[in-house]
């Protein structure tokens, strides 16, 4: 009997979030545009957040809202933590984009490899 790894159960929150994370990683490593780097880091963050949200969650779990049954509800701790992580993600992206705009205005380029040659003179 051979297990088929890509059954319908394979597509769950955990695998999707890991795939998202590594798509983001691929983006950071391959893209030379700073804007794309920021977006790719954001995708990695989202992947990690989704991963934490799927910890201790079964298909039958209910959201931990109000007075739900302790046994049926999803683990509330990661959900509480991830609100913080999402807020951090938003602010961090906002800061990065702001800095990117002023960098672009000063240097006139958004390409990492071009920027490095303009800095070279030191």
């Amino acid at each position: 009997m051979i297990d088929i790894p890509f059954g319908p159960d394979f597509i769950n929150g955990q695998t999707v979030s890991l795939v998202l994370f590594f798509i983001g990683l691929l983006g950071v490593v391959t893209q030379r545009n700073i804007f794309k780097t920021i977006i790719a880091i954001n995708i990695m963050d989202v992947g990690a957040i989704l991963f934490l949200l799927t910890v201790n969650v079964r298909p039958t779990s209910v959201p931990p809202v109000g007075s739900t049954d302790m046994l049926r509800m999803a683990d509330p701790l990661p959900q509480a933590l991830m609100i913080t992580a999402i807020v951090i993600g938003i602010s961090v992206t906002a800061v990065s984009l702001t800095i990117f705009i002023s960098l672009f205005r000063k240097h006139g380029s958004s390409d990492w490899t071009k920027l490095i040659h303009r800095i070279e003179s030191r």
Partner: protein, 531 residues
């Protein structure tokens, strides 16, 4: 004593003080920094006499909420933080760039750093480090010139990139262990039946921590961040003296937590030695004085990692003592470098000569710091380096010798700027605050060196033996090292042309990201084959 006062105090004072007039804010800050240092010292005394303090924040049950815990290592780091901040505040009293916005960011970083040293919750630490990253990148870009903007962006993005590894690591860890509290994690790691299930979370988290600590392939951001020409010198000093140690501190914590399941020593011993050697090589190629100091930080981090992972008690505590020592003399070196560069109007090592005649006080303080870092007998660096070295024999000891010799070479290159003909007389007015603070820090290097044994005994409850005949031996070894390094520098290093080629190579951001990925993969592979 409530531990949260140490964390909330700086943040509250910085926020309220932002709305005060500038002079009044300074008076408030001076009072505050003195009080904070006294409070941290008092905490150290309490922890030393009554043992570890553990407090739950917000009244949650243990393990669920955030706990603050003051143990000897954490409290020592807290005390060191407040002391360094007090020095740096006094140094910057007359500087023009310290307006309210600057002070706000700068003081909040103090609160956040103290919080990292006291926090017991790994997710809390993630949040704190993200906050720290944003604020530091703003401080790096303070003067908004081209170079500073590039350096700040690079610092911000590479750290955010690494911290997303850390977040995923936390997720994987929470799935395996079900807790985020350090104590609870340590207890559960001991019960894990299959240590291999910890490889994945640990390697993700350690990759992020290694980037924070600037280990071998991941240090390319450090010279950009610490050596930005236009960054205020107190920012460079706090970055190199304190904040890079946050990475090492986290490494020590993670290593202790996972020590029941896996031993990381060999991997990080090799990485540490590599970091030390490559840091020296790159420091020798630089011409910018701040970049020389930044790469020297890289090599000293390597030395600290070597000692931490040696598995020998003396070397371990020597490394922890070296964390404090390096914080002191590297902060001092950055402060003096800033003062000298301001006087000369250039940061090029080849254009600065005769500093000891032009800025005597600052130069003498810088020479004291250099004596510390190259391990001159009776200085603090000598003791910590001796302790790190004492655990090694054979080939490993030779490597430590090479590292020490390299450090001496780097600082001979650096010290050249003090001698010779200065070309002009002093142009700027001497600043009494700059002079006295740098001098006080220089003297602290000697005091820590002479009083090393009681200090180590008091801070870490360990009794390290420094043999009686040691000083004579050490003096001869030191004299031989310096004596050999001077001709090697003048006839070898100074003329080597391939250094220019190394200096021109710079990694772009995607390359650094690739190196992070490679580091993660090799750490995973190594753990997979050894555990």
């Amino acid at each position: 004593m409530q531990l949260y006062i140490l964390v909330v105090g700086p943040i509250l004072i910085a926020t309220l003080g932002y709305f005060l007039p500038r002079t009044l804010f300074r008076v408030v800050l001076l009072t505050f920094q003195v009080a904070q240092t006294a409070l941290a010292g008092y905490l150290l005394v309490i922890v030393r006499s009554e043992g570890v303090i553990l407090q739950q924040v917000g009244g949650w049950a243990p393990v669920i909420g955030i706990a603050l815990r003051a143990d000897l290592l954490g409290t020592t780091m807290v005390f060191f933080t407040t002391l360094l901040y007090l020095f740096l505040f006094l140094f910057s009293v007359r500087k023009k760039y310290t307006d309210n916005m600057f002070q706000f960011l700068y003081i909040v970083i103090q609160g956040v750093t103290i919080s990292v040293f006291l926090s017991q919750d790994i997710f809390n630490i993630y949040v704190l480090i993200e906050v720290m990253t944003i604020m530091i990148s703003v401080l790096i870009m303070w003067k908004r010139d081209k170079q500073a903007l590039y350096d700040g962006t690079l610092y911000l993005l590479i750290n955010l990139f690494a911290m997303s590894f850390f977040l995923l690591g936390i997720g994987l860890l929470y799935r395996t262990l079900g807790v985020l509290n350090f104590q609870a994690m340590e207890a559960r790691v001991a019960q894990v039946t299959d240590p291999r299930s910890l490889i994945l979370p640990l390697s993700f988290m350690l990759t992020a921590v290694s980037l924070k600590a600037a280990l071998m392939p991941l240090f390319s951001w450090l010279p950009h961040a610490h050596g930005t020409p236009s960054a205020p010198s107190i920012v460079s000093a706090v970055l190199s003296g304190l904040l890079v140690k946050v990475g090492i501190y986290l490494f020590i914590r993670l290593r202790d937590i996972f020590s029941a399941a896996m031993i990381l020593d060999e991997f990080f011993l090799v990485i540490g030695a590599g970091t030390a050697v490559i840091g020296i090589l790159l420091a020798l190629t630089q011409r910018d004085i701040k970049l020389i100091l930044a790469y020297s930080t890289v090599s000293q981090i390597g030395l600290i990692m070597v000692g931490l992972n040696s598995g020998i008690t003396e070397a371990y505590w020597g490394s922890i003592f070296h964390i404090l020592n390096h914080g002191l003399f590297k902060a001092l070196l950055f402060l003096t470098a800033g003062a000298i560069a301001k006087e000369y109007g250039t940061k090029d090592i080849n254009k600065i000569r005769g500093a000891i005649r032009r800025v005597p006080m600052v130069s003498i303080a810088a020479i004291l710091a250099i004596s510390g870092i190259i391990g001159t007998p009776f200085f603090n660096g000598a003791i910590s380096k001796y302790l790190i070295q004492s655990g090694f024999t054979g080939v490993n000891e030779t490597i430590i010798y090479i590292i020490n010799f390299g450090t001496t070479l780097v600082f001979i290159k650096y010290a050249v700027m003090f001698w010779g003909n200065s070309g002009a007389s002093r142009t700027s007015q001497p600043d009494p605050f700059v002079n006295s603070v740098t001098m006080a820090m220089g003297i602290a290097c000697i005091v820590l060196g002479i009083a090393a044994r009681p200090v180590i005994g008091y801070l870490f409850e360990v009794n390290v033996s420094v043999e009686g005949a040691y000083y004579a031996d050490k003096f001869v070894a030191w004299a031989l090292t310096v004596g050999a390094a001077i001709p090697v520098y003048y006839f070898g290093v100074r003329k080597a042309s391939f250094f220019a080629t190394i200096r021109q190579t710079r990694l772009s951001f995607p390359d650094m990201a690739l190196l992070v990925t490679v580091f993660l993969a090799s750490l995973m592979a190594w753990l997979y084959y050894t555990v």
